[in-house]
Structures are given as structure tokens and as C-alpha cells.
Amino acid sequence: MACRSVARAERVSRGTASINPGLKQFSFPMPCLPIERTRDSDRKPCSQYATSPSWENLAATVSVTSESSLRCLFGIRRQEHLWMSTRQFSAAWSRLLEMGIEHFDAFGSIEPSALSFCLDGFRVSLAPLRVSLVKIWGVMFTLWPVKRVKSRGTSDIRNTVGNIPMEWYKDYPHIGYDLDGKKIFKPIRNKDELDEFLDKMDNPDYWRTVQDKMTGADIRLSDEQVDLVHRLQEGKFGDVNFNEYEPAVDFFSNEVMIHPVTNRPQDKRSFIPSLIEKEKVSKLVHAIKMGWIKPRRPKETTPQYYDLWAKEDPNSILGRHKMHVPAPKMKLPGHEESYNPPPEYLMSEEERLAWEQQDPEDRKLSFLPQKFACLRAVPAYSRFIHERFERCLDLYLCPRQRKMRVNVNPEDLIPKLPKPKDLQPFPTTQSLVYRGHTSLVRSISVSPSGQWLVSGSDDCTVRFWEVSTARCLKTLEVGGAVKGVSWNPNPAVCLVAVSYDDTILLLNPGLGDRLLCTATDQLISSYEEPEEAKDQPVQWAVSEGEGHEQGHRLVLKHPKAVRQVTWHGKGDYLACVMPDNSSNLQVVIHQVSKRRTQNPFRKSKGLVQCVSFHPVRPYFFVATQRYVRVYNLIKQELTKKLMANCKWISSMSVHPAGDNVICGSYDCRLAWFDLDLSTKPYKVLRHHKKALRSVAYHNHYPLFASGSDDGSVIVCHGMVYNDLLQNPLIVPVKVLKGHTITHDLGVLDVTFHPTQPWVFSSGADGTVRLFT
């Protein structure tokens, strides 16, 4: 027990008070009495004395000299931090109370926040000063160390610096402070290396000498301590007497023991029926008796049926049901599924093999029809479950759709057309065949009078025929395969234009009226050479000599091969086509009376297929592969461009009234253009099976014909009305067949008789046929 100077305590307390001025409010009326030590331990913690026990000044001074004693006071273990939680603090106080200080009862009600504040103060004061005066709840404590009872006789030089790095004291002569606060001086160490070595050599206990860091003194370890160190180094238990390997004794073993584990007699209650249970059971029995508890009903396994549709209210029909597509019923079996079908439904051997080789999905029947002599012989159908399963799959996996089955009578689909009988006249039968050519007849033309027919063929001849008798009147050899012939449409002139290779011949066949022929000759010979000769793309030459006798009148030499030649309606102008994609000289127009040649186009607009004059107005039609261009010759401009909607136009014909054009194409189409309507076809006819070679209008009758590679000529009724509001009526009236197909070519040219409803056709079989 030690008492320390009050003056010092006061000094410290003053400092502390100045730190915590607000603590005054926590002053309680509490008697502060000396705290008596009640516990016996070798560390006597402390004793406290109230400086003045009066009510006015309730400052208590507690002197604690070291940290450890404080710990001891508050029951804090060494490992814990001194920073106390409020709970620990209150526990500590309660321990204080335990020690017999009943008067501190009131502390229990102190607010924790205030406590923690106090604790702060406590902590601050502790660390540097070692001894501090703490004012808690208005009570002053002086913490002072308790004198340690020395267990050994040696002077206790305990260092009080605590657990700090000792190198802090490296530069000082002392190494810390003892319990009395006096410096502990470092032992005088003047040992150098040599001394050390000598010591090591001389001192037999050198190896067990350890320097105490806290005091700097050398300590010689005792035998027990050395032994302990050894044991710890070896990883053994520190206590010598501890046996790690004691024999294990099973508490419970497989041996059946005759004695109970515990010798405790059984409880009495285990022999007496439980009253509580009895009460419970009786309650249940009563409930069962009263019918409150019923035994569990056996579960209904069979479904209960009732009249589900007892109240069929129309409101319950949802909108869904209107959308619902009921599943189609399964197909009903036919005769072939019978166990005893008629013999024709059984499969023959080949059919059976074919059936077996088909994929199951492709088979028309899913089973093989079989015949059994009697019902008893019919086996089970092996795919029965499969079929039911497939039906199930269909029901829930197949999308359903309402398919509008077109239940049309095929007869209703056929358009109602006027009967061909009512549209007569038109050619119906083949009446004459003009034979004589040995090769393809490429082109034919009829004289304006309708008496003569001219045909040009690949055998390099031009033949003149009398239409009514099929007699060949004249055969002219020309220098090449004849590509086109064309009779001058002017009835006052007897002139035929024939094109072969790069030449156009103007012939006077000398048929018919002699006057007419001579007049034609005169007309040609009456030409006078103009004064200034223009250089023209085409050379005009008058044929003389033998040629003249044969009927040749004029020879026009072109720079390129001429394919088609066509006359203007008046008979003075002549247009010819020299198809060549690259040059602008594809079409030339000749004027026979002035022997002049014009090249109307400056630019090439594609491969020209054929050209035609407008029958009345000064228009000029040029058909390229896909378009027909209509030019105004007077204004010299493009008026229209007709789109044929086909791949390759082969031929073209202009209606005698001039408002309609038909185009035949190599892709089997015939396009009818109404120039007043649009530039697109009014109607496209796909009557032929193969490419169209030629189309023609009749001059007077509402007829047009088309010849094709399939060897047929189709005559159609094509009525054009004067009324602009009424569209043309197109009715096919007759399919004329007669030409045989040679080298995949059938009919090459068709043309109508100028006055009669007759049609001529020339074919690849070297014949010309007349249909009347």
C-alpha cells in the first residue's frame, strides 16, 4: 500500500479539469469511500482515498501507478487494449461495487455517451504520464501504482516503459524507469569483440546467458528454463510431466457391459402414466366422440362425372372459339384397307416393290393391302399404336390453317368469248400449197391486186405465183439467199423489192396488166439525173442487159447485208434494215422516184429488228430488241417508245388504221399495243409454244395472224373500234396447221391477202400455203 503526494495529484487534476470542463454537470451526490481490496492476489491493485468526504467536494483520488494495476483494477486482461468500451467500463465499475462500495449504485444510470467521453479523458491521461489523475463524473481519481510485493530477494528493477521499441533509448544512458519512476541506467558495457570472445571462451555459462532487453542486464538461464527452451524448439509440450500419448479409453465400446453407464436409478415419473398426456388423449377421444374429428376420408381415385353442360349459356362461348380451327377428322378407310378387299386393290409384285422403295412419307398408302381368307386369320396391326401416336402429335404440334379450297368449276374459269362462228370470215382450211422452193422460204408478199404472190427463199431464187392456181409463173435467180421480198403497195406501179446479201433489187415482174408494166418501166426510166450529185451511202444503178430482160430495173448496193425491206403505203419510199449494233447506219430510207437515200438516224439505239411505215401519217416505227420507237419523220423527233415486255422482238405489224401495233417476239409472246392507251402492251398473248417469226394484220378485215416455230399459224379476230372508249376485242379464232417443222423452224412468214380473208404462210419446209 502506498500513498502518494496530494500536491502532485492536484497538479495533474488541474490540467485534466481544464481539458474537460463540461464534466461538471455529471456531479452526483455520491459518497466516496476508500476502496478496500477484497481479492487476494499477488498483485495488489490499489487503494483509494477520498480526499475529502464532504458532500460539497466529491472528488475522489485514486492513485494507480502503472498500467497493469489499472488493468487489474478494471479487470482488463493484458492482451486487450486499454481502450474500454462502455460496457467494459460499467462492468469494471460494477466490479468496484462488488468490492464493497455500495454507494456507487447511482453510476448505473449514467449515459453511455458521457461515459465514453470520460473514457477519452482517461485514455489521454494515461499513456504519457503513467500516473494520472482522472476526473470521472466529477470525481477525481489519482491513478497510482501499487507497490509490488517482491517475490524474490533480488532488487526489482522492473522497467516501466512498456512494450516499446527499445532502440528509442539507444542514445540515452538510461533504458527506462523503474517502479519508482527513477531512471534505470544501462549496465556499463565496455565489452568489445575481443572481450566478448574471451567471455565466450572462458564462461562456461555463456551459452545460457541472455540479455534482457528491458534492462540490458545479462541473465543466466536456469536448467529448467533451458530445458523448456529445448522442448519448445523440438516442438514438444512445455510441461515435462504431460504425456501426449496416453492410452485412449473408449467411453462406449463394443463390449456389452453389465452395469449401466450411470448408476442413477430411473425416475419415478417413468413408471407413472403422464397426466398431461392422459389429458390430451382424453380431449382427442372426446372430440372423436362428439364428431369433431373425423377419420381421414379415403381419397377419391375414380373421377366424378356430372352434367357439365347443364347450363349451356351462350355467353360462355369465348371469342376464341370463333378463331378456333377444329382438328380435321381422320381420313376414313377405303376398300383397300379391308381385310378381304376386292382383288383389284391388292398390289401387284412391281407395285409392292415400288411401295417398299418409297420413303414412308411419300407413300400414298401407309400399309400394304392384304387379303385374308377368314377373320380368324387377321393378325394384329403392328403400327396401331404408332398411328394413334402420330395422330396425337398432329393434334398438338401441327399448325392449323383454314385453307380456302377453290371449289370452282373448271368450266367457269374459261372466259366467255364470242363464238368464232359469229366472227367469220376468217381462214379455216388449207386450200393451196405452193411447192417449188428447195429451201426455207424466208419472205412472201402479195401484189396489191391480190392476183400474184412473190416468195423469196434461201435457194437464191425469187418465185412468182398465181394465187388462185398455185402455179409458178416465173423463177428468178438472184445472187444470194433472199432475205426479204416486198411488193409495191401502189396499185399503179408493178414493182417488187427483193433484198439479198447487201443488195436490193427493184424488179418489174411483168405480170398482169401490160400497160401497168410499161408505165412502171417508163416511170423508172424517166428519171433525170440532178445537177449536183450528192454522195449517198448507197449506190443506185440501173440494170441493163440480161438483168433488164429478167426484169431487174434498179440495183441498190448497200454497205452491209440487208435483212428486211418494206414499202411506204404510197409506194415511193422504201425502208430497209441492215442490222448492225455498232453503227448508226442501220436503217436507210430510199426514195425511188428521186433515187435518193437518206439515213434518218444519227445514233444507234440498239440492234434494229424491223421497221415499218405508218399507213397514213408520217410516222416511222423502228423495233429494236426490246422497244419499238415511233418517230415523226416530218418533225424528225421521237414521239413514242413502246415497251414490249419481251426479250427479243422478232417482227412487227401496224394496224391499217395506224393506232395499233402488234409485236411478235422470240419468247413466244405477241404483244398488242394500243398507241392511244399506253406505251405498254394492251394485251400479251401467249398462244404459241415456240418463238414467233412473223405477225401480220389484214388490210380490211379485223384479223391478224402470227406464225411461229411450232409450225402453226394462229389467226385472231382483232376488232378495233372507232369509239375511243372501247378497247379492242381480241379473240383467237383458228389455229392453222400445215407446215412441217424442219431444222426446228416452222412458219417463217405470214401475210394476208389484200382483199380476201385469206392468209399465206411460208415455212421452213420450202412451201407456201394458202389458208382460206
Partner: protein, 581 residues
């Protein structure tokens, strides 16, 4: 011009459809449960018009459902039950794993169950709707009732199916609504007309099934679950309309007559009643015990009795039908043990005949084979030892053929050991241009009341006629045409060659112009020309129709040719035999 830019696939058909997987996720069900739900609710996928649009640009093959359908499924209480069941299974598994047998018991007791009543009401708001859709459920129930009570599905299901199918057959018997029967190689088809609805079902032949491995029995079981519920309610309602007791009970007389010594041997006590019911040999009990007079008439119920009085005024058709309904009445059949008992008993009873069989064959036989009043004894073996003189011994096909023909067919062709006439399908209705087998023609003649000629005469006559006709036609046509053509060709040749024509004027034959033919040709030409003028789309359709027609004609011709070849061959065989004799 302002406004937000429209995003692709956020409106229109893309939003009306939902893929199966998305639908499944939306309902948060496993695929199996989703499948089950679709089956029960009758939801089927839809094929969108523009699949790529709906599929958001992808062309992957997907199944689409209508979004509306899936939304409709969201409100289904059964979905909750499915989830509960899933949890139940999980708990049960856990309990098994922990070997908590008490827990297992408890869980099993509280197994979640669902009822399909509301779904049936919802899918079939009226009774007629349900009746219309009962075909598949019948076929399925009959199939399941033939399954062995092991393996593939629950025993309860099989028992329930059997019960329902027996109920149905009993109803058909008491309402006399069977119309057609067909013995196919797959099974026996029955067609009945119930409340104006034609209902067809198929029953497999009585054999043990060879269960295929590539069939998902879970799907089948789900369907069966639905179908049994539907059929139960339909049966209840049907029994109610006939004033019969449901579940069916044998009427007093029947019950007494069915008592026999063998009862205990035949079946367990619990099952003997259902067995008796399924024997189909006794009539059912009625709710309102009918008057005694009517009770003497078997299977006649008051409603129909009233109708009969009025029926005199009604059309002949209906009378005929009534007659046909009981055209076996007064006949007593006895089934030998090798014939399919259930099917024959069902058919015979449907048309008012009395039927019995050997006591040891099945419960419910009413009289013995020795009964003198038996008129028809149905046997399916080549010969029988002990024959009674006052009854016909016939093969079972006679019953079925008679039912389909609606008259009692002559029994001669169906005697024992005789080659049976072909059994024709009563479901085929020949339209114009279809092939009609000659047996059918004969049958139709019989129905009209014409007396059939004896076979051989008929055949011979037919042959002769046919041959003659064919010959005549062919010769005339061919000759005339050929001659004409030949002449013309010759003439043309000569002309074209320009050779010295034999300028000889022969007396010209007046060309007999066949006016009719000419007119026809003209018409044909007209038609051809008109077809040329058809629009492309119409032409396509027309071609398609004509193609189908032509195919039908071709098939009919093929069948006819085959038949002819077969007949010829058989005739030759006969001739050879005769010669040998």
C-alpha cells in the same frame, strides 16, 4: 416528317406471334409441362403468313404460337398446379434421399391433383361441340383399354378407359345408333350417329400389343387424361338423355338372367359387375322404370316410343331408318368361341338381335348352343362337327356386311368353307368418275330390291355384251378413220409429186358427214381457243384442276383394268378345271 423512327419488328405480325421457347419462358414452365398444357388446353402452333418477318429476319425453323393464345394460358389455374407438382416431386425426392419414410407418406397423401372439368367446359362450351370431337378420344380409350396392366401406364388409367369404353358401347346399344362397321387390317372401324353427329372410332383386334420404343407414352398419357375426362362427361350426358342410370346398371331382368354358377370362378367380386356390363348382353337400368308393355320390347325407351306414333306421318326415310335399326330383331345368334365375341355381340345387339356364347367363354351368356331357337350360328372355322339343321352356320363377315348393306344378305355366300365375297368399306362414297367395284354394284342392286342373277349367268352375259360392244365400237371407228386417212394421203402424195395423174374420174362417194361429231369437234376447238385466252393465274388453276381430274380417271382406269385381268385369269382357271373334270 418528325417523329421517332420506327424500329423493325416492333409492330405488326412480329408482335402477334411468339416462339415456343419464349412462350415457355413466359409461362415459366418446363418443356414437358408446356407440352402438357398445350395438349390439355388444345393450343396448337400457328403458321405465320410471313415467316421471315415474324422470325425477325431469321429463317431458322421455329414453331410459333399466337401471343394471344399464350396470354390465355397465363390465366390457367392448372399452371399453378404444375408448379406445385414440380415442388412436390422435389420434396419427395429429398424425403427419399433422407430416408424419411414418414415424410414420404405425408407428402404422398398431399400430392397435388388437378381436375380438367373447367377445361372441358371451356374448350367445348356446348355439348354438341364435345360430341363432335369425341372421335379421337374414343379411339384412344379403346386402345388404352386393351393395354396390359403392366408397364406403359397406370393401372387406374387402363381401368378407367375400359369402364368408359364399356359405358359408351352400352349407350350405343341402347340408343341403337350404330350405322357402319368395317373390318380393316388395322382394326375394326365403327361409325355411329349420335344426336346427329357422325362419330367414327377404331378398335384394334384383341391381341397383346408389341409396344414400340419410339413412341412417347407421356404424350399419349396426357391425351388420355384429357380424353377420359371428356368421355366421362359425354357419357354422363348421353345416359341422361336416354334416362338411363349413370354409372350404368343392369336392369332387374338382366341381372337375374346373368346369375350363373361360374360367377365366382370367372372374376373377383369387385370386378364381376363391370365384367357383366362389358359382356354387353343385358340391357341397362333406367331412371324412371318404364311401363311393362314397353319393357317387353327390349331396349325401347319412352321417348322413342312416343316418337313412333308420330313417325307414321313422317317421311319414309325415317321409317326405313327405324326399321334398319332393328333389322336383326327376332334373330338369335350364337357365337362360337373363335369369333371376336365383343365386337359381334356389340354389333348384333345394336341392331336388336339376341346373342349368346359358350358359358366358359365369357360371363353373361344367356342361352346354350343346344337352344333350338337359334337362327344363326357364327363360326369362323372351315367346318364344324355337330350341326343343327334348323340354323344357319355362317362366317362372321355376314353380320358386318349385312349391317353395312342394311339388309339381311343372302347367307349362301357366307357358309362355312366358302370363299368369302370381298368385304367393302362402307365409308367410300363414289362420285362420278370414280371406280366402283362390281361387288358394290351388285350390292346396290340388292338394296334396290332387284333379284340377283346367279353368278355364272351374269358373268357370262356381261362378258358377251362387253365384248360385242367393244368390238363394234372399235371396228367402226377405226375402219372409217383409217380408210379416210389413207385415201387422203394417197391423193395428196400423187398431187404433190405432180406425176401424171391418172385422170380417171371415179364415182365419188358421198362423204357421210357425222354432224354430231363435227359439232363436237367444233365445240372442242372453241374451248381450246378460249383456254388460250385465259389469264395466267386462271390458266394455272385450270391446269391443276384438270390434272387432278385426269389423275383420278387414270387411277380408276387402272383399277378397272386390273380387275378385268384378274377376272379373266380366274375364268380361265375355271375353264381349265371344267375341262379337267
Amino acid at each position: 416528317m418528325g417523329g421517332l423512327q420506327k424500329k423493325k419488328y416492333e409492330s405488326g405480325s412480329a408482335t402477334n406471334y411468339i416462339t415456343r421457347n419464349k412462350a415457355r419462358k413466359k409461362l415459366s414452365l418446363s418443356l414437358a409441362d408446356f407440352r402438357r398444357l398445350c395438349i390439355l388446353k388444345g393450343i396448337y402452333p400457328h403458321e405465320p403468313k410471313h415467316k421471315k418477318k415474324v422470325n425477325k429476319g431469321s429463317t431458322a425453323p421455329r414453331t410459333f404460337y399466337l401471343l394471344k393464345d399464350i396470354r390465355f394460358l397465363l390465366h390457367e389455374p392448372i399452371v399453378g398446379k404444375f408448379r406445385e407438382y414440380k415442388i412436390f416431386v422435389r420434396k419427395l425426392r429429398k424425403a427419399y434421399g433422407k430416408a424419411e419414410w414418414g415424410g414420404v407418406e405425408r407428402l404422398k397423401e398431399n400430392k397435388p391433383v388437378y381436375k380438367l372439368d373447367h377445361i372441358i367446359k371451356e374448350r367445348y362450351p356446348t355439348f354438341i361441340d364435345a360430341l363432335r370431337d369425341v372421335d379421337d378420344s374414343l379411339s384412344m380409350c379403346f386402345l388404352f383399354s386393351t393395354f396390359a396392366r403392366t408397364g406403359k401406364c397406370h393401372v387406374q388409367t387402363i381401368q378407367l378407359c375400359r369402364r368408359l369404353s364399356v359405358e359408351w358401347m352400352n349407350y350405343i346399344i341402347s340408343s341403337r345408333s350404330l350405322r357402319k362397321v368395317f373390318l380393316s387390317i388395322k382394326g375394326i372401324y365403327y361409325q355411329a350417329e349420335v344426336l346427329g353427329q357422325t362419330i367414327t372410332w377404331i378398335i384394334p383386334y384383341q391381341f397383346a400389343h408389341d409396344h414400340p420404343t419410339d413412341v412417347d407414352y407421356r404424350v399419349m398419357a396426357t391425351f388420355t387424361e384429357f380424353y377420359t375426362t371428356l368421355l366421362g362427361f359425354v357419357n354422363f350426358r348421353l345416359y341422361q338423355t336416354l334416362n338411363l342410370v349413370y354409372p350404368p346398371k343392369l336392369d332387374g331382368q338382366g341381372e337375374i338372367s346373368l346369375k350363373s354358377e361360374f360367377e365366382e370362378d370367372y372374376a373377383l367380386e369387385s370386378e364381376s359387375y363391370t365384367e357383366k356390363l362389358s359382356a354387353l348382353s343385358a340391357s341397362l337400368a333406367r331412371m324412371v322404370p318404364s311401363a311393362e308393355e314397353e319393357e317387353t320390347e327390349l331396349d325401347h325407351f319412352p321417348t322413342e316410343g312416343e316418337d313412333l306414333e308420330k313417325m307414321e306421318v313422317r317421311e319414309k326415310m325415317e321409317q326405313e331408318q327405324i326399321k334398319q335399326k332393328k333389322f336383326f330383331e327376332g334373330l338369335k345368334f350364337f357365337l362360337n368361341r373363335e369369333v371376336p365375341r365383343e365386337s359381334l355381340a356389340f354389333v348384333i345387339r345394336c341392331f336388336g338381335g339376341e346373342v349368346s356364347w359358350d358359358k366358359s367363354l365369357c360371363i353373361g351368356s344367356t342361352y346354350d348352343a343346344t337352344d333350338e331357337t337359334i337362327t344363326h350360328h357364327i363360326v369362323d372355322r372351315p367346318s364344324i362337327d355337330k350341326q343343327y339343321i334348323n340354323r344357319y352356320y355362317i362366317q362372321p363377315q355376314w353380320v358386318y356386311d349385312s349391317v353395312n348393306a342394311k339388309i339381311l344378305l343372302p347367307v349362301e355366300e357366307y357358309f362355312l368353307g366358302v370363299t368369302l365375297p370381298p368385304h367393302l368399306s362402307p365409308f367410300v362414297e363414289e362420285t362420278e368418275g370414280d371406280y366402283v367395284p362390281p361387288e358394290k354394284l351388285k350390292l346396290m342392286a340388292l338394296q334396290r330390291g332387284e333379284k340377283p342373277q346367279t353368278e355364272e349367268d351374269e358373268e357370262e352375259e356381261e362378258e358377251e355384251e362387253e365384248e360385242e360392244e367393244e368390238d363394234d365400237d372399235d371396228e367402226e371407228d377405226d375402219q372409217s378413220e383409217e380408210e379416210d386417212e389413207a385415201n387422203l394421203a394417197e391423193m395428196e402424195d400423187k398431187r404433190s409429186r405432180g406425176k401424171s395423174l391418172s385422170v380417171k374420174v371415179t364415182p365419188g362417194k358421198a362423204k357421210a358427214e357425222n354432224r354430231k361429231r363435227a359439232a363436237e369437234e367444233e365445240k372442242a376447238e372453241e374451248k381450246r381457243l378460249a383456254i388460250m385466252m385465259m389469264k395466267k393465274r386462271e390458266k394455272y388453276l385450270y391446269d391443276k384442276i384438270m390434272f387432278g381430274k385426269k389423275r383420278n380417271v387414270r387411277e380408276a382406269n387402272k383399277l378397272a383394268a386390273k380387275r378385268k385381268a384378274h377376272d379373266d385369269a380366274s375364268k380361265e382357271d375355271k375353264k381349265k378345271k371344267k375341262k379337267k373334270c
